[in-house]
Amino acid sequence: MKLAITLIGAVALAQDWTSYGNNSLGWRYSELDQINTKNVARLTPQWMYQTNVPGKNETTPLVFDGMMYVTGPSNNAWALDAMTGRPIWSYKKALPANVSLCCGQVNRGFAVHGHTLFKVDLQGTLVALDAKSGTVLWESTLEDYKKGYSATAAPLVVKNLVITGMAGAEYGTRGFIDAYDVDTGKRVWRVYTVAEESWSGDSWKRGGGSTWITGTYDPSLNMIYWGTGNPGPDMDGEGRRGDNLYTCSLLAIDADTGKIKWHFQFTPHDLHDWDAIGDPVLTDLVINGRTVKAVIQANRNGFFYALDRTNGKVLLSKAYTRITWADGIDSDGRPVAIAGQEPTEEGKRTCPGMGGGHNWQATAYSPLTGLYYFTSAERCMLFYKTKQEFVEGQWYQGSTIGRDEPGNGRIDAIDPKTGKLAWYFETVSSPTGGVLATAGGLVFAGDAEGYLIALDARTGKAVWRFQTGGTIIAPPVSYALNGRQYIAVAAGQTMITFSLPKF
């Protein structure tokens, strides 16, 4: 398997964790196997670092050169000694009072190139820091936060470019993906995720399509894959008739020029806030005896998709949760919509709910098992439509917020060649955290009640757990230091690491 990984390329040293998805293909898989199904029961905490910063912690920490680099809520970041958890330097960027954020003052992590770290700040800026000292090397503004733009995702480094998305589709913004020069911070290209066609009138100008989860990169095709969010206003489509390209889509982008090579729209003219921002995971699948370069995603609209990543053609699709809005996906990849599922003034109940089947939480792919792991929810919601006038920089959802019905969650393992469920682990609450797969035959995931859980990657059986004391929203990572493998995760306001006892 290691050979296959090397052939595809762009994989970090196995000891470290150096990007959002650990490799540019978005696998979130660790080749380390010191912690495995046989000894995981002995996994114990090694250190904790309490950030004392309230808010939701969604970070994927990076680990290299003996340091752990952690981003936190409210424009905070820390460099911690990876062996002891002691803080070495910290970073904080003041937050203007009137930044528009739909979903909390969150951040999902750093990217790195050489010894330069990159992160976005909430007011829509991208900053480069010296990894040794935390010194700011340069800072670039993506777009004016006063117009509703913000940023939360971990950037993606591709060659000498740092690629970043934005947030703000609930504020009448126009989504984009930007590439900046790693050395200078100068913008090299921008691709808008909202086309001028397929929108009535000038509604594209405030069409949303934000890009708030990190994309992936295939070096062999030199293509970046990045998911796009909902059109705006979310639940009132009357003023934006048409398919609303390229919202709720996956874009394949030429890494050098920023040109869109192909697009695939999962939910044309979305009215349910079903962003297509789940990790686009790149893997080669053998389907009907033919090896296909594929990209897979458990979409928020309730369907799992495998696409040919060279051309965007759908290979297979399959529902993984309860769906009442479509009768399946046709051979062109377009949903066979069921009539009368649009949000109404009085409320229309549709499944899945606004949070979808699988939302943004990080997913994992294990070359060891060939399975794709993600969290999902099975629940429905009353969707309301409410007319709302656009005011620049202001909330623009065209709805009231209904409550998702209470529902259980699951950690799912799907065979991406068939879309069939291999196993699931049922959880008492809707999922909050992401997942990690390891060569030790394990899948790690955190839950809403604060447990970090290890599952057998082949069977889904829970083989270890630890109560961290804080809701886990972030995905776990794994790294090795001085011959010991660690598992690390942000829980509540704390970063915690685990390893096997030394003695």
Partner: protein, 244 residues
Amino acid sequence: MRRAIVFFIAAVCYAQGPAETGRWTFRILCAPCHGIRADGGRGPDLTLGTFSAGDSDADLIRVISRGVPGTEMAGYSGRVTDDEIRSLVAYIRSAGHADKAAIRGDAATGENIFWNKGGCGQCHRVGTKGSTIGPDLTRVGRQRSIAYLNASLLKPDADVTPGYATVTVVTRDGKKIVGVERNFDNFSAQFVDLSGKYYSFVVEEVISMKREPRSLMPSTYGQLLSETEVNDLLAYLNSLRGGR
């Protein structure tokens, strides 16, 4: 984008008069708690013509602007303009049917039923009296509409207060223990049975554990109590406004 937690709300300016303007603002801002028709849900019913924190327009403007400390009601000044707050008040007034007739019973009789025939105090608390197995009702007249209380009394399973679901554990020796949830997660269950006894189990120690969205409150009050007694009890519950 993800489900919004915080609202920063746009101006909604439809020229149909302040109440109609307020209706659209209300849908976006207030409906999640107060209901799409302002008749309450998890937040108080605003159609009764009487309000938790004062009945005058000035009281309503104050509450919308500054919120109510110690409750889930947030302040909205800074997010909406003064004009919009006035239009919200206009809408709330127009939505209200001031249906005093909805409270048909006698609160004093209802209080007697609560503590005696109804046996409500065996599980519920009012002020310093009663038990803590079920939700505390000290402020329930501010928190729930008459219609909601009526539904909860006659069909307790209709909308179980979060955190008060029914937990059932079967122990290794085959004993079935049922109680009201205190915590329930993927690996453990903590609950209180109807005698007030507290239990805590981890999943490996038991045959099974489950949580169901139903209430352990008897569903027989419709038979136990006459319609008059139900109305008396509702009048008493509606009179529970906290304090003292």
